[in-house]
């Protein structure tokens, strides 16, 4: 047996090598499930065959052809019909080889034929049979391969359907056994014990076997933590797409965009700059799609379905039932859908009076507008009578729960009392519905709520979405703010509903939609998907409010006379028509307009900037740390090159002393320091006993001649260099 490499302990090498083969089998087993590899047993046989050949003493020129033969036999069994090694067989084989060689040079990795992939895999197994022989049987350092095996199995278990429960147990038993045996061998080496017969070895191994059995059983029976991530795949995908810019742990990551289902709100999302549509308007508008009425404690459902009516092109629609107190201003818009995605309804703006060239089905209750056929590919034009809401009317005293049916006051029974209490607190002292709504709308920005899209949790099963946002996380995006505002309004008896749609979008150069007339074209992306709030005011209608911090209410309110309640926050010089600024925004009112257009983007990019700087610094620090780590970790390796060069270049005493001193330091790092009072000879013998050769003693004898005989070893230089390099190389290879 070649495994008699160390004649004192042949059994140790045999056991270790068998262990390595079993571990390699653990690598092959999952292939059947994970990669749909067939004929896995053939690979086992090939591995066993290679291992056997490696283990048996024979010259390499015999072993390699034998392995090659085995490889070809496997190929024959798996792929080729022709008689083994016949001419046609050869032709097939080489034809396949040449095709793939070409693909190899073209880097078309994915187009390799199955025989070629199998051939590569077999060659890999062949190489592994040698590598494992080297790791396990010769240097006896099995730890890294064992660790790799565990990593491999756990990764497969996590990300594929392969269940590694038993493979882990098996690998543990094999791995600990192999480690135990190799450690026993090292002890025996150090103590110069002889484990000649298998019986003696078995006696030594009994406690080890006992420990493995006990450890495995305890580990198997013991209770285990449930996984940290129920399913890490989406998390990792999200992280990978986002770059590591500060996504924390979260339960759910979704891509932003318009969705139908709002039953489960919360969780972080990632940006998506797909264009949904282009739209023209006089100024930035919110694009409304639909409303929902029922808050479940987790999300939104629709209970009031309403009825669809048909809108003839050019005819006035009764889409929004504003009362006559609302004044109107004419306008127009044109919308070109690009990639609607989940959007199956037509977005429109507040005050849409008619679709000029499109027949639509519209629902005045839910605010939905559908196209009877597919979504129009051509741009559709809106005639708009932009509403301006009368402040005076809205500020009239209205009894609670007045004006609209029950659904818009619905709240789940599970809504915690503290939501009601908070609302009461917020609206205390506010006399009318408008002021109360305004107070709730402004509550978030005044109390340090944070706009956050990534690190946002999904509420637990027994947790209310609004309650979690208001009292625990205090960070979130539009859904959090709008839902919370509706819940609070309703808890105060103010009818309100939840609106979905898009924010204004970004000004773009795309002008083919605009027909002169001072219209600006906006690009609305999935990133602009938004939700906000509509509050019902008697004798006015549904008025939009914008609670989300960083966004501003684009609704026009028209004040007929100076209302007392607004004096605190508004300019004293009343204009006939005014926009209500968000008091908490830093920018003054004159900067309000651009802010409105890009409010959301600003907030997002602000957090992006900080994330980006953090990321940049993180990378810089990581790279610096990596460099430092490499230098510290490989300082001996780096120094060894330097010293070696010096030793080879200068044949003087100093370079030898220097190189020898470096070697002593290297040994010290490995745990063999020269003790006080220990002579170099004694030290070298100890080192040699550990390394199993006499290099150190020989080198030391030269060093002694240099130091104690004060001899110039010009003629011995080559041998010295050779010895030094060999020792250093072996040490660094550890």
């Amino acid at each position: 047996m070649r495994l008699n490499g160390n004649p004192a302990h042949p059994w140790v090498s045999i056991l270790l090598y068998i262990g390595s083969m079993l571990l390699l089998f653990e690598w092959i087993i999952p292939l059947e499930i994970v990669t749909d590899t067939d004929y896995v047993h053939v690979f086992y046989l090939f591995v066993a065959y290679c291992f056997l050949l490696t283990a048996v003493a024979m010259p390499a020129w015999v072993r390699s052809p034998l392995k090659l033969f085995g490889l070809l036999v496997v190929m024959d069994v798996l792929f080729f019909d022709a008689r083994f090694m016949s001419t046609s067989w050869m032709q097939q084989f080489f034809a396949d080889l040449s095709i793939n060689t070409e693909r190899l040079s073209n880097r078309s990795w994915m187009e390799f034929t199955a025989p070629f992939r199998t051939l590569l895999f077999l060659i890999l197994l062949w190489m592994l049979s040698y590598l494992l022989y080297y790791w396990f049987a010769i240097v006896k350092k099995p730890l890294s391969f064992i660790v790799f095996t565990f990593v491999y199995l756990t990764v497969l278990d996590t990300f594929t359907e392969y269940s590694a429960v038993w493979p882990i147990v098996r690998s543990f038993v094999i791995g600990v056994g192999v480690l135990g045996i190799s450690h026993l061998f090292k002890l025996a080496e150090a103590e110069r014990l002889r484990l000649q017969s298998f019986r003696v070895l078995l006696k030594w191994l009994t406690p080890l076997i006992f420990v493995i059995i006990a450890g495995t059983s305890i580990g198997y029976v013991a209770p285990k933590f449930s996984p940290q991530w129920p399913d890490p795949v989406p998390f990792l995908q999200g992280t990978a797409e986002e770059g590591f810019s500060g996504i924390g742990f979260q339960d759910k990551v979704q891509r932003i965009g318009y969705g139908e289902n709002d039953e489960q709100l919360g969780g972080g999302f990632i940006a998506d700059d797909t264009t949904v549509f282009y739209a023209t308007a006089e100024s930035s508008q919110y694009w409304k799609v639909e409303t929902k009425d029922r808050y479940t404690g987790k999300g939104w459902e629709r209970t009031v379905e309403g009825e669809f009516a048909t809108g003839i092109p050019g005819e006035m629609l009764a889409l929004e039932a504003y009362s006559t107190t609302v004044t109107r201003e004419s306008g127009q818009s044109s919308i070109q859908l690009v990639e609607p995605g989940n959007l199956n309804k037509l977005p429109y703006r507040y005050g849409t009076a008619s679709f000029r060239d499109l027949q639509v089905e519209y629902n005045p209750v839910t605010g939905e507008v559908k196209s009877p056929d597919n979504l129009p590919g051509e741009p559709y034009n809106l005639h708009v009578e932009q509403p301006k809401f009368p402040l005076e009317q809205m500020q009239k005293q209205v009894p609670k729960m007045h004006g609209v049916p029950e659904p818009y006051l619905q709240l789940p029974d599970t809504l915690p009392d503290r939501v009601y209490e908070l609302t009461e607190e917020i609206i205390a002292g506010k006399e009318n519905r408008y002021e109360q709504a305004k107070a709730i709308e402004q509550y978030f920005s005044r109390n340090g709520y944070v706009y956050e899209t990534k690190d946002v949790p999904v509420p637990d099963d027994d947790q209310d979405f609004v309650d979690q946002f208001l009292f625990e996380t205090q960070r979130g995006y539009c859904d959090h703010y709008s839902t919370s505002m509706v819940a609070m309004l309703r808890s105060a008896g103010i009818p309100s509903r939840w609106v979905k749609g898009f924010t204004g979008g970004e000004v773009t150069q795309q002008t083919d939609l605009a027909e002169g007339e001072d219209l600006t074209t906006y690009e609305v992306q999935n990133n602009n998907a938004h939700s906000w709030v509509e509050v019902f005011f008697p004798d006015v209608g549904w008025v939009p409010f914008e609670p989300t911090v960083g966004f501003s209410n684009q609704t026009d309110f028209m004040a007929e006379e100076s209302p007392e309640s607004l004096e605190e926050t508004n300019e004293p010089t009343e204009q006939e028509e005014q926009e209500l600024p968000e008091p908490e925004l830093d920018e003054g009112p004159e900067e309000q307009q651009p802010e409105e257009e890009s409010g959301r983007e600003n907030v997002e990019s602000a957090s992006d900037v900080s994330g980006y700087t953090l990321l940049k610094w993180g990378i810089v620090i990581a790279i610096a740390a990596l460099i430092i780590w490499v230098i510290v970790r490989y300082r001996f390796r780096l120094m060894s090159y330097w010293k070696k060069n010096k030793l080879q270049r200068n044949h003087d005493q100093e370079s030898f002393t220097d190189a020898y001193g470096f070697l002593l330091k290297l040994l010290e790092k490995e745990g063999y320091a020269v003790e006080n009072g220990q002579t170099l000879r004694e030290f070298s013998k100890k080192v040699d006993r550990l390394t199993g050769n006499a290099d150190m003693s020989e080198l030391t004898s030269y060093y002694e001649r240099a130091v104690y005989r004060e001899e110039n070893l010009e003629s011995e230089r080559e041998r010295i260099n050779q010895l030094w390099s060999r020792i250093v190389r072996n040490l660094l290879a550890k």
Binding site: V674, E675, G677, L680, Y708, E710
Partner: protein, 318 residues
């Protein structure tokens, strides 16, 4: 302490093997004896009677083809019994000097502590001076001159223990010790009609010994080695548990012994291992443990071990 017991020098290996035919299992002791001989020093053997002290010296003398003399020290021995005396020759009407046993090459001074200090000093002075003055006449002793003194460790009645100043003159102090069981069985097997010491042949001539002694003095001791020796000796002087440290003569002795040992190992330069190995044998009889340390059970040997283990060895060219 580990060291190789294989002697590198072929001539000395021959001598060792020859002597081993007589002295069983005492290779170390034989080697140290040769170390002392080649270093031109003398050996003090301290051991119980009957372990083969005399046989060791006789085997050495026979192997080297040197003149062997033995002096049995007794309380009534006079200095002239050692050195010899002038006797009046009536026939020739002159005083004629009859040389004493000290005029041999290898002198065994048996039970040296049983005689009076006066007689002891007659021997010890001649050991140092290598010549002797009797009746105003100075005579050189034979070359090589090697004294092997024995003393009994057990305190007998009427012994005169050697003063420290006298002990300093011995290069090395040795113990033979009892043989192991197996060695003793071997020994019984050998002691047949003819004693083994009578069967061995000389393997070296007198001239060769003198030549080897000369070569030993030429063994190179680098500055690093000298530094190491001095450090070790200084430690003995500063050690709190030692009443008496080693003298400068001890430093010289340590270097000579180390050179000699290095030579036997087949080297022409001293390495720290030589010094470390010789340290015990050269210093053990020159140091005195303080009474408190003795009370604590410390011995010279243990203190020397301590010193050897804590002294850093110079590893660079000095």
């Amino acid at each position: 302490m580990e060291r190789s017991i294989v002697t590198q020098h072929s001539k000395i290996e021959e001598l060792l093997t020859n002597m081993e035919k007589v002295i069983v299992g005492k290779r170390d002791t034989i080697e140290l004896t040769i170390v002392a001989l080649l270093a031109g020093g003398h050996v003090l053997l301290e051991d119980v009677p009957g372990v083969g002290k005399t046989m060791l010296v006789r085997a050495l003398a026979k192997s080297l083809d040197l003149d062997f003399k033995r002096i049995q020290f007794t309380p009534d021995l006079l200095p002239s019994d050692v050195t010899g005396a002038s006797v009046y020759n009536q026939k020739e009407m002159t005083f004629e000097f009859l040389p004493g046993p000290i005029f041999g090459n290898i002198v065994l001074a048996d039970e040296i502590n049983r005689t009076s200090p006066k007689t002891q000093s007659a021997l010890l002075e001649s050991m140092e001076e290598r010549n002797i003055t009797v009746d105003g006449q100075t005579m050189a002793l034979k070359q090589p001159f090697f004294v092997m003194a024995t003393q009994n460790p057990i305190e007998y009645e009427g012994t005169y223990s050697l003063p420290e100043a006298q002990l300093d003159r011995f290069l090395i102090k040795l113990k033979l010790g009892y043989p192991t069981e197996q060695e003793e069985i071997d020994m019984l097997g050998r002691t047949t009609s003819v004693h083994p010491v009578d069967k061995i042949q000389a393997v070296m001539t007198q001239e060769e010994v003198i030549d080897l002694q000369q070569q030993v003095t030429e063994v190179h001791a680098s500055n690093a080695i000298k530094e190491y020796i001095v450090k070790l000796v200084h430690q003995t002087r500063e050690h709190p548990m030692l009443e008496l440290g080693a003298s400068p003569r001890a430093s010289i002795s340590l270097m000579r012994a180390s050179k000699s040992y290095a030579f036997i190992q087949g080297r022409d330069y001293v390495v720290p291992d030589d010094v470390k190995w010789m340290l015990h044998h050269v210093l053990i009889h020159r140091l005195l443990v303080s009474s408190e340390a003795r009370f604590e059970g410390r011995t010279v040997a243990s203190i020397l071990d301590e010193i050897a283990n804590k002294t850093r060895i110079p590893m660079e060219r000095g």
